[in-house]
């Protein structure tokens, strides 16, 4: 069976890479910022780049916070957050005073680095991740696969049971998470070649 996939459009502006990736794996999807489309979707993808505060503001201005909350928390629709999209699911971020969507028991902090010559912020580049928990999201993805990271902030989980994989940038931090119907990746699957496409395919095909 095929699911109705909606990429949430809240004006963040860089959804096209995710769109192209889904097209490449032959997935039908809709890009929409309309509450009724979120209501009728089977699965949601929350992507985006930019500033936490301005992203939260756009979600509010487009009246998307409540429909999203209903879809994710009440109707338990699978949702995949990518980079900033995952960060938005936290309670708060050091990047802004605006509260997050609050779906995850987590906060977002800026990288704290001691060795600033060796560990640069933003963290940019290809990294392997260490699996902490098996997940349907990673089915068929090789353990040695590299993913592309581009971020200055990262998630801090209050409850480690949601942790799927970790990356190291001086210290360990969450590279991907799963909590019930909520999935999130700090890296960019849409720019991570075969491994990333496989991950997106896994999400789309989740039963």
């Amino acid at each position: 069976m095929s699911y109705k996939i909606v990429i949430v459009d809240y004006g963040s502006g860089n959804l096209s890479s995710v769109e192209r990736s889904l097209s490449r794996i032959g997935v039908d999807f809709k890009v929409s910022g309309r509450p009724e489309d979120i209501e009728s979707a089977d699965k949601l993808i929350l992507a985006g780049v930019g500033h936490f505060g301005s992203a939260m503001q756009s979600l509010k201005e487009r009246n998307l916070v409540e429909p999203l909350e209903k879809a994710v928390l009440t109707d338990k629709k699978p949702v995949l957050g990518i980079c900033l999209g995952m960060e938005l699911m936290a309670q708060s971020s050091e990047e802004s005073d605006a509260p997050g969507l609050g779906w995850l028991d987590a906060s977002v902090i800026k990288f704290r680095v001691n060795d600033t010559v060796r560990y640069k912020v933003p963290h940019i580049g290809w990294s392997r991740v260490t699996t902490k928990k098996e997940s349907r999201l990673m089915k068929g993805v090789d353990d040695s696969a590299e993913f592309y990271f581009l971020h200055a902030y990262h998630l801090v989980l209050s409850n480690q049971s949601a942790l799927l994989s970790e990356c190291v940038h001086e210290r360990n931090y969450a590279a991907s998470i799963e909590s019930g119907n909520i999935f999130g990746v700090q890296y960019h699957p849409e720019k991570s070649r075969e491994a990333g496409l496989q991950l997106l395919k896994n999400f789309v095909e989740l039963q």
């Binding site: 780049v49 640069k120 933003p122 940019i124 580049g125 290809w126």
Partner: protein, 252 residues
């Protein structure tokens, strides 16, 4: 920590791909989209496309071209050339580009600041072209190296970091296209003074140069033009990229 990146830099002049030596004598290399396709297949870490005429001609890199690139590439890439407005960046990001490169217009730190606020630091790279001047030592140059500014590279790099740039591409003009080695001292003097990643561009001619950029220059990435578009010192055109790019990990 991610392993050090190896980044081909492709220069555009008109609709053609060119390669310069010390920012001069541009030689036609081929079709940029074709080269992009090959680097995509060779699994390059990232690509950087710079329209080297745009700033002087008072325009921005072609959005049509950026869209075509985004259609072809399944990998991260940056574009730059004559970017002077937030709206231009918005269109480029919307096309599916990870990072934009600001060059000449970075002399307006407020523009960099605004861009970083709007799109996040991770999206904004600044390319700093550096040339030795007779009286005043190293100075930042703009408009494809033609115009000297008053800024010394280290101070300028710091001010770009303060403004919110998420990455600095450091390019000593005198090394461009020479394949004679990186200016490791310059790269090191900047990468040890800033907390954002530094990309060393200009002069890489062989594997030893790449290693030196990482090991001694403390760069997060080494970028190169000639090394990845020429077969060897004879400069026969051959798009190439190492299949064992992970080797640099041992030197970080």
């Amino acid at each position: 920590m991610s392993r050090p990146r190896l980044i081909p830099v492709l220069l555009l002049s008109g609709s053609g791909l060119v390669k310069s030596v010390r920012f001069k004598g541009h030689r036609y290399i081929g079709d940029p989209l074709n080269a992009a396709r090959i680097f995509n297949e060779l699994k390059a870490d990232e690509l950087i496309f710079l329209d080297i005429q745009a700033s002087r001609e008072g325009r921005c890199i072609s959005l049509d071209f950026v869209n075509e690139l985004a259609e072809e590439l399944t990998m991260p890439f940056s574009v730059g050339g004559g970017i002077t407005s937030i709206e231009q960046i918005r269109s480029i990001v919307r096309a599916g580009v990870e990072k934009v490169v600001i060059g000449t217009h970075a002399v307006e730190p407020d523009f960099v600041r605004q861009a970083a606020y709007e799109f996040g630091s991770s999206t904004i790279s600044v390319c700093i072209d550096v040339k030795k001047t007779f009286w005043r030592g190293d100075r930042v140059h703009v408009k494809n190296g033609r115009v000297a500014t008053q800024y010394d590279p280290i101070g300028f790099a710091r001010s770009m970091e303060d403004a919110g740039a998420g990455e600095l591409i450091i390019q000593p003009i005198d090394r461009d296209g020479t394949m004679s080695g990186l200016d490791v001292a310059l790269i090191n003097s900047i990468s040890t003074q800033v907390t954002v990643p530094v990309v060393a561009l200009g002069g890489a001619g062989n594997t030893a140069d790449l290693i030196e950029g990482i090991q001694k220059g403390m760069a997060s990435a080494v970028a190169a033009g000639s090394l990845f578009v020429f077969r060897d010192a004879d400069r026969g055109v051959l798009i190439n990229y190492p299949s064992d790019k992970r080797f640099l990990e041992n030197y970080a």
